[in-house]
């Protein structure tokens, strides 16, 4: 129990720093969450395959990002993260035509799962990104798949640092919306 509490303090502390503008802390907390989310989703996936699980993990990460203002920094972060994961899991099941009952109390007991499934990147390296508008797609591909810096991507796409940040935020919003509507 003490170990878990200790980890939760880390998550909450990192997230508070992230909201204050510390990008390294944000990366740290997102990276720490990812295997935990993967474990939660896989433990409840039933007959769904690993790609489906990874999609739900990604949708949950996007929701955590886009809804992070709904976390009260005076509260521990984990219950809020579990609530988002539960919501996204139920949503994903419902799109497959399945109603599920998922008590949120069990979420804290699930073991993390570190490794991403093999072949996922082959399956859709740009599949979802392709469905975004051209500019959004080009920006996300440049930043993530080609892993070029913000400066280089900005130059290539003719964006100033300020407009690139706005464009990135909008692109992530549209990506989340596409995933929710498309049920990919």
């Amino acid at each position: 129990m003490t170990v878990k509490d200790g980890r939760d303090d880390d998550w909450s502390t990192w997230m508070r720093a992230a909201i204050a503008g510390d990008q390294a802390a944000y990366h740290r907390v997102l990276s720490a969450m990812t295997p935990v989310l993967r474990g939660i989703v896989r433990a409840r996936a039933g007959a769904m395959d690993a790609n489906w699980c990874e999609d739900v993990v990604q949708e949950t990460l996007l929701a955590i990002h886009l809804k992070r203002a709904t976390w009260d920094p005076a509260m521990p972060l984990r219950p809020w993260v579990y609530a988002i994961a539960r919501h996204k899991l139920i949503d994903a099941f419902r799109r497959r035509g399945r109603a599920v009952h998922l008590p949120v109390e069990d979420f804290a007991e699930t073991l993390p799962a570190a490794e991403a499934p093999d072949g996922l990147e082959l399956r859709d390296a740009g599949l979802l990104i392709d469905r975004l508008q051209d500019r959004d797609a080009a920006l996300l591909r440049c930043l993530a798949l080609e892993a070029r810096g913000q400066d280089e991507c900005g130059q290539r796409l003719g964006l100033t640092p300020g407009t690139l940040r706005v464009a990135l935020h909008r692109a992530l919003q549209r990506l989340a919306k596409l995933r929710q509507e498309g049920g990919l």
Binding site: L62, A63, A69, Y82, A83, L145, R165, L172
Partner: protein
């Protein structure tokens, strides 16, 4: 896209959002003030407003809608947090007012001769009453629902209904500044219907708009 790539992208996005509650309340109050002033400007204040507010029964025309406004607004804002549920206090307050109003109306109706219940309930301004409550509510409800899309409601339909209840409560209290019909048979029925209508509209819209 690999999950690690997505994490990289997300960590690069430092767009910040301020807290939602002050924006929601500010915009709702502003729009209710504007549409309320327009409607009351057209219909006029009731002449004996001060005396009406001092009468303990007539004062309920403001107290009940304002209590519903407070409960609805408080609960709708709480429900922007995914890990929370509708506050017990708000649930109790809403249930007590709804059940109390229905019981009061039935007791009054049963204490009257049959041929008087209808005319007293219908009054002379039912259409204006219903129309005003919905007109005052409309723009504020639309704006509130739009803003609440930034929240993460665990129950979108309930969030929409509670937002509708909060807005309708305020709109009804504003309309009561004009409404000169003080028979409880009238105002329980028509205020209740007006608030119920806007609450239902909020629930239906919320179910679609507040999904995330």
């Amino acid at each position: 896209m690999k999950t690690d790539d997505l994490v990289e992208l997300i960590a690069m996005d430092d767009a910040t959002q301020g807290p939602l509650a002050p924006r929601v309340i500010g915009v709702a109050a502003g729009l209710l003030a504007v549409t309320g002033a327009l409607v009351i400007g057209i219909l006029g204040l009731r002449a004996d407003l001060m005396a009406a507010m001092a009468d303990p029964v007539t004062a309920l025309k403001w107290l009940m809608p304002l209590a519903l406004m407070a409960a609805g607004a408080f609960a709708a804002i709480r429900l922007t947090h995914p890990e929370r549920s509708t506050p017990v206090l708000a649930r109790i307050l809403i249930a007590v007012i709804a059940i109390g109003a229905v019981a009061w109306w039935l007791a009054l109706a049963m204490g009257l001769p049959d041929d008087q219940v209808m005319p007293r309930s219908l009054g002379s301004s039912a259409a204006v009453c219903l129309g005003s409550i919905t007109v005052i509510s409309g723009p504020a409800l639309a704006a509130v629902l739009f803003l609440l899309r930034a929240g993460a409601s665990p129950a979108p339909m309930a969030s929409g209904a509670l937002a509708g209840l909060g807005v309708a409560g305020a709109a009804t209290a504003i309309y009561a500044l004009h409404c000169h019909e003080d028979a409880p048979l009238f105002f329980i029925l028509w205020y209740g219907l007006g608030i119920g209508l806007v609450t239902a509209a909020g629930a239906l819209a919320g179910r679609r708009l507040l999904r995330w």
